[in-house]
Symmetry: none
């Protein structure tokens, strides 16, 4: 992967002249990235085409491409990876690990999301007479957040994290209503039932859940997020962050779809909160 390591590894497979180039590069890679092929050739006391051939041997397209790889190696990139928190981690260590895992999972979630489904979901939401967000446990938090976001849009919106209320609400739904059900696993019985009830009563059911799950089967539309759930501590962490980001996306799509005039309304909502706050002095 890292081209500097690669050079070091393959040092003995190089020819005499290639070896000279390798030595120069390894001894001061920082200089090389700013040098032209001529300069490097001169420093290694070999010809320019030899440098070029050296680059190709390392699976790069040529000298400029090689420099690019070198620059990346030098940047000592530590990409975000899902690292599990360890028993003996210090506060600094687990903080870093959790942040990095969260970011790695967001990256995964982004890749797994289908934008055309998002687009259609936004379509449906903008045309809804009433929007309901249901979730339980950790997913209740996501539903709660969705309420906060959509509430500002001046659209009839409700949120329930109580099984009975969810059921009653689902039974009372009608054509034109949209029910968004959030469940990471998609295997929570009561939520699957709620989805089924809502559908029977002609509501459009959007599931934020895992593809192919029992819940997904009951939904008209499924927004599936694949994340490697960190089950170490028996708490769903990353899936919830990804779901919240998805809510942001849906809310954003909603406002964009509703156009400029609509966004003035958001400003009004925001302004109305002003009196409850201490003024910022600046």
């Amino acid at each position: 992967m890292n081209i500097l390591e690669k050079i070091a590894n393959e040092l003995d497979t190089f020819s005499k002249s290639e070896r000279k180039v390798a030595d120069v590069i390894l001894s001061s890679p920082g200089t090389v990235i700013h040098a032209s092929i001529a300069a490097l050739a001169k420093q290694a006391n070999i010809s320019e085409p030899t440098v070029n051939r050296f680059c190709r041997r390392l699976d790069t397209k040529g000298y400029p491409d090689f420099k690019l790889h070198l620059a990346q190696s030098l940047a000592n990139g530590t990409p975000y990876v899902n690292r599990h928190v360890d028993e003996n981690d210090s506060a600094e260590e687990y903080t870093t690990k959790i942040f990095e895992s969260t970011m790695a999972n967001l990256e995964l979630a982004r890749k797994s999301l289908d934008t055309s489904t998002i687009n259609r979901s936004v379509d449906i939401l903008t045309q809804a007479n009433k929007i309901s967000f249901f979730g339980l446990g950790a997913s209740a938090v996501v539903a709660h957040d969705a309420l906060n976001k959509f509430f500002r849009f001046n659209v009839p919106v409700v949120y329930f994290d109580d099984i009975l209320m969810q059921r009653m609400s689902a039974i009372n739904s009608r054509q034109g209503d949209v029910v968004v059900i959030i469940s990471h696993t998609g295997r929570t019985k009561s939520l699957v039932e709620v989805a089924s009830l809502a559908k029977e009563n002609d509501a459009t059911v959007i599931g934020i859940t895992t593809e192919g799950s029992p819940l997904a089967k009951e939904c008209n539309m499924v927004l599936s997020i694949d994340v490697a759930e960190d089950t170490d501590l028996y708490m769903p962490m990353s899936s919830r962050i990804a779901q919240l980001t998805l809510i942001d996306i849906l809310a954003t799509g909603f406002t964009l779809r509703r156009g400029t005039k609509f966004r003035d309304n958001l400003k009004k909502v925001k302004d109305s909160l002003r009196s409850s706050r201490f003024e910022r002095k600046e």
Copy 2:
């Protein structure tokens, strides 16, 4: 430092044509590092010298040097840049932008968090007789999430998103109780009052808020998160994700501090949920 961030920051200082180049680069930096100046110019619909001038404006020696910087930025772990959603963005575009902004802000949040304060907060939480989480609006979601997490620890924990309940709870607090108040701005009057009340009644008050805010001044300990809040749509998005990640961190720190035996308890809680779910067939 990071040239991608630099471009994103200086976006409004660019001229019309330079802006075009910037947009192309930001939308697919990975492609640009393999493109010639001619290819990039063509893609941005501007002339080659304009690209060159653009590179120089960013304090690079020219286009190849710019590509080097870009390559390093990309390798540096964070290709994520805070980009604002635009009026005419497609679903794909705003999805990408929101994910990337979220990730960029998590990165920022991580840098701004002080691990020694986290460590002390975990100390305080593990020793608490009772933990209360208070928030309003978007921050209520975070408090709600905190409840979900800490509830599993078999510790007396409450959460209120209602001003009156928060006040009453604060007044009834006593030595050994910990009150965690969440507010991005730290300028919500009622929450500042609640903090003050809790402190008067000998509770330890931890604020998840902005440093130096009115709320921060009332707290015994402040966990401050600096994020560039995306106020485009008048909804706090990134701060909330960062706060939730902080809750994850506190909860993780909590379990680690409590030791192995304690974690068995978490498993019990998890197992107790099993009967409410459809079994996974695999």
